[in-house]
């Protein structure tokens, strides 16, 4: 297993480098250094000032080849190498607008993000599995049919609709929750109930459909028939036997999601004003702050690789037949 983990970790190197490479090229196309310089200097900037700023930032060097430097330096003193060498060592630098260390901002933003995403994840998982067990239990009844209709509807309507409808109904009309805002510590709860409820409900559609399919596949197997023949109760069969055996696909879906809880939620945070990492990323996109974007993409790639690895390892925990070599 150690060898397997080492191998997998090595696999992540080209993956992460590749992701960073593509995003770097893309960012450069969308937010060209010249444009960033103009944005920074404002409406009265002249050509000379723009050129000066670009030179002082090293933005006038080549992307991958710096003809001016000469020798080996023409390959190493380029924008890409400068960018990557800092990124790989987690030296993210400071934000463009307010010169705050990006590392600190990420650590600070993680707290509100986690207070939002962890309850969504846990509640979504528990409610999703319970409901899908129920639906599987009532398989081929009107309840099951109704659940299919509701689930498909949930899956096909955009979360924006839920957000706006939730804000309109619960916050504006029933006046139960604040429409927007955040508070630290214990007071955060009031602001989080609505977005959490919306995200859980929105997530249920897909989850219930997925878990139900997985569960039903298991229900059709021989051991279930044997258990029924033995006279075990339906509830016991579902919770004790079927659920355990359906864990592999469930784990694939959930363990992979865990690392991304740290990244926050772009839409929910933006619409409800929760000052987490999703919100920070949106702001970076709006301001063309490529350093923040690059840091988030890099962390995202690392977390994705980590999540994949965790998923594989978790298989061995729930299914003794799986061996990692």
């Amino acid at each position: 297993m150690t060898a397997y983990i080492v191998r997998r970790v090595l696999y992540t190197i080209p993956l992460v480098l590749g992701v960073c490479f593509f995003t770097f090229v893309l960012f450069d196309m969308v937010f060209s250094p010249r444009e960033l310089a103009i944005q920074e200097l404002g409406k009265h900037a002249d050509e000379q000032q723009i050129a000066d700023l670009m030179r002082s930032r090293g933005w006038d060097k080549g992307l991958f080849y710096n003809a001016e430097a000469g020798g080996l330096k023409s390959l190493t003193d380029t924008r890409f190498v400068n960018h990557m060498s800092k990124l790989l060592l987690f030296r993210f630098g400071r934000t463009a607008k307010t010169h705050e260390p990006i590392g600190r901002k990420i650590r600070e933003g993680m707290v509100p993000s986690l207070t939002l995403t962890v309850p969504i994840f846990v509640l979504g998982l528990i409610i999703g599995i319970c409901l899908s067990l129920m639906v599987a239990y009532f398989q081929a009844t009107y309840l099951d049919l109704g659940a299919v209709v509701v689930c498909v509807a949930f899956m096909s309507i955009s979360i924006l609709v839920y957000i706006l409808a939730g804000q309109w109904l619960l916050a504006q009309h029933l006046r139960l929750f604040p429409i927007y805002g955040y508070a630290g510590g214990i007071h955060a709860g009031r602001f989080l109930i609505l977005p959490i409820a919306i995200a859980v409900i929105k997530g249920l559609g897909g989850d219930v459909r997925f878990y139900r399919t997985v569960l039903l596949e298991e229900v059709g197997r021989d051991y279930v028939r044997t258990a029924r023949a033995k006279g075990l109760g339906e509830r016991l069969i579902l919770f004790k036997h079927v659920l355990k055996n359906a864990m592999i696909p469930v784990l694939t879906r959930t363990v992979l999601a865990i690392p991304f809880l740290f990244m926050g939620s772009l839409l929910l945070e933006n619409f409800f004003g929760i000052p987490g990492l999703g919100n920070m990323t949106i702001e970076a996109v709006a301001n063309g702050d490529t350093r923040v974007m690059a840091a988030m993409v890099y962390l995202g790639a690392l977390l994705f690789a980590f999540g994949n690895l965790m998923t594989d390892i978790s298989y061995t925990l729930v299914d003794p037949r799986v061996r990692l070599r």
């Binding site: 010249r34 444009e35 200097l41 009265h44 000066d52 010169h99 916050a171 429409i179 004003g273």
Partner: protein, 644 residues
């Protein structure tokens, strides 16, 4: 099976009860419980771009910075036309006879706010001196600070341009400027006297000394906080920064060591009746705290205003019909809430510019006049601005010295018939040129936002109506600037927002030597206009100046290097608990004059935001019924599956 069903129902009821209890304790108030302080609540669309005065280039950042930092002069809050009065200066500047030497006395006994950066005094704010302004102006000239206001003093102060050039070199080499190095035109002959020596007459200097760019900045703070200075404002202003959490909130609080600063006792006629002088003589600021929430989405920001959780709001296009009736008055719903509407002409001009260097439009005056006649301003005002704009006749917006309400630009009266006639005179009868081809014009826009595109399409439609074909080019702002610099634009739409209330700020957009890449994007260069401009810019607002300005406007109207579009009118809503609201064309440190009736605010908020328990009850009842029905259904299916 019956037992199972009842257990299911019991679980359901046990779940419902706490849910109901939870909802009883709910409220939609987004703020921490208030104390007895007077608090103003506002919304910012995004975080300020840092709080360094030399970077206060955008309205939003400047609006915050100017509450904490003060400059030598400030605008009268109530008096019109806009006039400056001393702020940190003791009096208005003494100007030498040749207009080149400005001597400004500084108020004594003004202190910076207490801050940890004042190490020598153990955190107590130091007294303000003239040296602080010398330092601040040098900072404005230092390229390393990315100053957005350097253009104000560029080429004006003796020795300052050399300082600026050196700072560019230093920044490129990775070094730091030495602020002890003297600049010939900037000096502090004594502790409370500032002297500025100019290279040429520049009466607009007083406006530059009002802006946050030249606000007093303590050197201690810049050096103590380094890169973090943009987040740690230390000024002399009425407020100081209490808390700034990015993308969340920005809270200002009363600066307890703010100088003696009092509410004005003079205003325009009508101000007394409007209650604007009730606070005359009160010590400023009038409120204890200003609480801004950062709300980037328009919809929640609007709802927060309707709920009473922010004091003031603009009106977006989407919500316009909710708040304003077709007669441009407040709707009944808003009237009933006691909300007040302020309409206010902004000092802005939006226009379509012709590149005068372009061989087609630049040399053909009649063609430009024809296109101007075909431009339907009223339609645009109604459909793009909900009526919130006035048709521009020339470059100077209403409210500005030199604006002529009587002016009727003969080429700005929408008249397609006359336009066709002019077009024929221009050599393009029916839009067909001498070569037998249809006239084709390129119209460039510097943004891909839908509004810019729509405006361009309407322009194309207007021109099509008289037979001119328009090719619309969408650019990024950077591309647009580059095309402008290279003279590759033909016809394009832009706007200008004033920097200071002097007509020079608008007329310079047409001054020959300012041509691209300068602000004169149309490359208009009329020797007579240039000559008048040079005379006018160094004059005070005298009747003689007015005559010259009128003459200049007439030249521009006849030459038609622009199609003057619109001057926008801003509509602002205020709740009734906000007091001393008077719109001002120049955003600045005006929050200190505002007051709130906290009792009224709290009462109305409670009244408007009582949770709607009735509807909640109905909702829960419906859910309960559905659950019971489901239980019954389940029993039915259980019975069915029990049958062999």
């Amino acid at each position: 099976m019956r037992r199972g069903a009842s257990r299911f129902a019991r679980a359901f009821w046990f779940g419902l009860l706490p849910l109901g209890l939870l909802l009883v304790g709910c409220s939609n108030d987004p703020y921490p419980p208030p104390g007895d302080e007077k608090v103003m609540y506002g919304v910012l669309g995004e975080d300020p771009h840092g709080l360094d005065p030399v970077q206060a280039g955008d309205t939003l950042s400047h609006g915050i910075i100017s509450q904490m930092y003060e400059s030598l002069f400030e605008y009268h809050y109530l008096e019109r036309p806009y006039a400056l009065k001393p702020c940190l200066a003791e009096s208005m500047p003494e100007v030498s006879a040749d207009g080149l030497v400005y001597t400004i006395r500084i108020k004594r006994g003004v202190h910076f706010q207490d801050d940890a950066c004042f190490v020598a005094t153990g955190g107590k704010g130091r007294e303000l001196t003239a040296g602080d302004f010398v330092y601040a102006i040098k900072r404005l000239a230092d390229f390393a600070n990315k100053p957005r206001g350097w253009w104000l003093l560029q080429g004006k102060v003796v020795g300052l341009d050399e300082f600026n050039e050196e700072s560019v070199e230093t920044a490129a080499a990775g070094g730091k400027m030495d602020y002890d190095q003297p600049v010939a035109g900037l000096s502090a002959p004594d502790r409370y006297t500032l002297q500025i020596r100019l290279k040429e007459r520049y009466p607009q200097l007083k406006y530059a000394l009002q802006m946050s760019y030249t606000a007093a900045v303590p050197r201690e703070a810049v050096e103590y906080y380094g890169e973090d200075f943009v987040n740690r404002p230390v000024g002399t202003g009425p407020f100081r920064l209490k808390e700034w959490r990015k993308r969340w909130k920005l809270v200002l609080e009363r600066n307890p060591t703010h100088r003696d600063d009092f509410y004005p006792d003079r205003g325009e006629p009508g101000d007394r009746e409007a209650g604007l002088l009730d606070a005359a003589g009160s010590k400023l600021p009038l409120v204890d705290e200003v609480y801004y929430t950062i709300v980037s989405e328009a919809q929640p920001a609007w709802l927060l205003f309707k709920q009473g959780y922010r004091d003031a709001s603009g009106i977006s296009k989407d919500n316009f019909n909710q708040a304003i009736t077709p007669a441009k008055e407040l709707s009944d719903e808003f009237e009933a809430k006691g909300i007040r509407l302020t309409k206010f002409p902004e000092m802005v001009v939006y226009y379509v510019a012709f590149n005068m260097k372009n061989p087609v439009v630049g040399t053909n005056k009649k063609l430009r006049q024809a296109m101007s006649l075909a431009y339907d301003t009223e339609w645009r005002i109604e459909h793009f601005a909900n009526g919130r704009a006035v048709s521009a006749q020339g470059p100077i917006p209403p409210g500005m010295f030199g604006y002529d309400p009587e002016l009727k630009n003969p080429y700005k009266q929408f008249d397609p018939e006359k336009a066709r006639q002019k077009l024929a005179e221009a050599g393009y009868p029916g839009g067909i040129g001498p070569d037998g081809e249809r006239l084709e014009i390129t119209y460039d826009i510097g943004s891909a936002v839908p509004a810019a595109r729509q405006a361009a399409l309407v322009f194309a439609g207007d021109m099509e109506a008289i037979g001119i074909k328009v090719d619309i080019q969408t650019n990024t702002w950077a591309e647009f600037l580059r095309k402008n610099k290279d003279g590759r634009l033909q016809v394009f739409g832009v706007g200008w927002i004033l920097d200071y209330p002097d007509p020079e700020n608008f007329l310079q957009l047409l001054y020959g030597p300012n041509k691209a890449p300068g602000p004169n994007g149309s490359n208009y260069d009329n020797p007579e206009f240039n000559r008048l401009f040079e005379r006018m810019k160094a004059m005070d607002d005298t009747p003689e100046r007015l005559v010259i300005i009128r003459k200049m406007v007439d030249i521009v109207v006849e030459d038609a290097p622009w199609i003057p579009g619109t001057h926008s009118v801003s509509y602002t809503l205020h709740h009734q608990w906000v007091k001393n609201v008077k719109p001002h064309a120049i955003t600045g440190g005006n929050l200190k004059y505002r007051d709130v009736d906290m009792q009224l605010c709290k009462r109305l908020r409670r009244q408007w935001n009582r949770p709607n328990y009735g509807a909640v009850g109905v909702f829960l009842a419906v859910t309960a019924c559905a659950a019971l029905l489901l239980g019954a259904l389940r029993r039915g299916s259980a019975v069915r599956s029990a049958q062999p």
